[in-house]
C-alpha cells in the first residue's frame, strides 16, 4: 500500500504540489492532469527520486526519506522516453544492469533475462544494439528492465506518448497484463477504461478521485 500524508513540494520559485493526501490500494491507478499540474513530480515522489518538502510518502510502511534503496527495488519507474531509460548499448546488458545493482547471481540474471525476452517475444533481440529497436520494442525493453528487478509497484510516466498507434496498443496490452500494481501517469484517456481508479491533478491539488467513468468525463469538462 502507498500512503501519502499531507505532502507538499516546492522548488525555489514555484510550488508544485499542495497538501496532497492519498492512500493507494487499487491495482490499476491512473493519474491525469494538464501539463504542469504536478503529476510528473507526484510520480517521481513515489519512488523517492524526489523527496517532499513537507509531509511523508510511505510504501508498504517504508518512508521514502529513510529507505531510498529498498524503495527503488520495490517501486519500478518507466519513463516517457525509453531512449533515456535504456542505459546500455546492447539489449541483454541493459536488462542485466538493474539486476546487477541488486546483487542478483549470474544464473538468476541469465534466467530472468530469458524469461522476460520470451514474454515480450524479443528472444532474437538478446544481443541486438538497443538503438536499432523500434519505438515499441524500446519501450518494452524499458519496461522489461524494470520488471526483472521484481518490483511490487510500477510507476509509468506517460509511457505511450511517443509511440505510434500500433506500438501504443502493444505497450498498453503489456501494461494491462502486468501482475504488479500499476500507477500510470498519462495524457492518453483511451488507456484508462479498465482502470480501477483515476486521480485528476490541477495546479498541484487533487481535484477528482473516482472510477474512470466518472473521473474522465469530469476531467474533460474541466479542460474545455
Amino acid at each position: 500500500m502507498i500512503n501519502i500524508h499531507n505532502v507538499s513540494l516546492s522548488y525555489a520559485d514555484r510550488t508544485v504540489l499542495r497538501d496532497v493526501s492519498l492512500s493507494l490500494t487499487e491495482r490499476r491507478i491512473a493519474v491525469i492532469g494538464a501539463n504542469g499540474s504536478g503529476k510528473s513530480s507526484f510520480a517521481r515522489m513515489l519512488n523517492g527520486l524526489v523527496l517532499p518538502t513537507e509531509g511523508e510518502v510511505e510504501i508498504d510502511g517504508l518512508n521514502t526519506r529513510t529507505h531510498g534503496k529498498d524503495i527503488r527495488q520495490k517501486v519500478g519507474f518507466v519513463f516517457q522516453n525509453p531512449d533515456n531509460q535504456i542505459v546500455f548499448p546492447v539489449v541483454e546488458e541493459d536488462l542485466a544492469f538493474g539486476m546487477k545493482n541488486l546483487g542478483f547471481s549470474k544464473e538468476k540474471i541469465a534466467q530472468k533475462t530469458d524469461e522476460i525476452l520470451t514474454r515480450y517475444d524479443m528472444r532474437d533481440l538478446r544481443e541486438h544494439p538497443a538503438h536499432l529497436l523500434s519505438g515499441g520494442q524500446k519501450q518494452l525493453l524499458a519496461i522489461s528492465g524494470v520488471l526483472v528487478m521484481e518490483p511490487s509497484y510500477i510507476i509509468m510516466d506517460e509511457p505511450t506518448t511517443l509511440l505510434d498507434l500500433r506500438n501504443k496498443r502493444r505497450v498498453s496490452e503489456a501494461i494491462m497484463a502486468l501482475e504488479q500494481t500499476v500507477i500510470l501517469i498519462s495524457h492518453d484517456l483511451d488507456l484508462l477504461h479498465d482502470f480501477d481508479r483515476v486521480i485528476v491533478f490541477d495546479e498541484g491539488r487533487v481535484v477528482e478521485d473516482n472510477i474512470p467513468s466518472v473521473a474522465v468525463p469530469a476531467y474533460v469538462k474541466r479542460m474545455t
Binding site: 527503488r72 519513463f79 533515456n84 545493482n101 538497443a130
Partner: protein, 198 residues
C-alpha cells in the same frame, strides 16, 4: 557495433588486449628512439608481414594509410627541402610503420574486450580514487548515447533544412546541446531508479 574490428582467428586475434597494447607501446617507443633509415625500413617490412599473419589483407593495410597520404606528401616534400632525401624517407616511413602497427592492434581487438581490459586494468588506480566500475558505466553510457545523439543531430539538421538553416552551425548545435542537457537529468534519474548507488 561500430568498431573497426576485423574478425579472424589468428594469434593476434587470440592474444589478450593487455599484452598487445604493451608490445605496441614498446615497439612505438623503440621506433621513435631509433634514427637509422635501414632499421626503420626493416621495421616497416616486419609490420607489413604481420598483416597476412593476422589474416588481414594488404588492402586493409593500405586503407589505414590512404587517408594520410597527402600529409605524408607534405612531410616528405618539407623534409626533402629542409634535410635531404634520406631524412625525408626516414620520417615518413617511421610514421607509416607506427600507423600500421597501431592499426594492427585495433583491427584484431574487439572494442568490448578492450573495455573489459581497461576497466580491470584501472584497478591499480583505486587508491587515488578512480573507481573502475564507474569508468565502465561511463564507457557503456557513452556507447549507448553516441547513436542516440547522432540521430538527434541528424533530425535537427533535417528540421532546420526546411527553414533553410541547415548551414548554420548554431541553428544545428544549439538544439542538439539543449536536448543533450535535458536528457542528462532523465538519464541520471533512470539510472538511480534502477537501483544504482554511486
Amino acid at each position: 557495433m561500430l568498431d573497426l574490428y576485423s574478425p579472424g582467428k589468428s594469434f593476434l586475434h587470440k592474444m589478450s588486449p593487455a599484452p598487445k597494447m604493451l608490445v605496441l607501446m614498446v615497439a612505438a617507443t623503440l621506433l621513435f628512439l631509433n634514427d637509422s633509415l635501414a632499421v626503420t625500413l626493416a621495421a616497416m617490412v616486419a609490420v607489413l608481414l604481420l598483416y597476412p599473419l593476422a589474416q588481414l589483407s594488404f588492402k586493409q593495410a593500405w586503407q589505414q594509410l590512404r587517408p594520410l597520404l597527402w600529409i605524408f606528401a607534405v612531410f616528405f616534400a618539407l623534409q626533402w627541402w629542409l634535410a635531404g632525401l634520406e631524412q625525408a624517407s626516414y620520417v615518413v616511413l617511421r610514421l607509416a610503420a607506427l600507423i600500421l602497427l597501431a592499426s594492427l592492434v585495433t583491427l584484431t581487438t574487439r572494442s568490448s574486450d578492450m573495455i573489459d581490459t581497461i576497466t580491470t586494468g584501472l584497478g591499480f588506480l583505486k587508491p587515488i580514487g578512480v573507481n573502475p566500475a564507474k569508468v565502465g558505466l561511463a564507457i557503456s553510457l557513452a556507447l549507448r548515447f553516441i547513436p542516440v545523439l547522432a540521430q538527434v543531430t541528424q533530425d535537427v539538421r533535417e528540421a532546420q533544412k526546411t527553414r533553410g538553416l541547415e548551414r548554420s552551425v548554431i541553428a544545428v548545435a544549439m538544439p542538439v546541446a539543449i536536448r543533450t542537457l535535458k536528457m542528462a537529468d532523465d538519464i541520471s534519474d533512470a539510472i538511480e531508479s534502477r537501483g544504482y548507488r554511486p
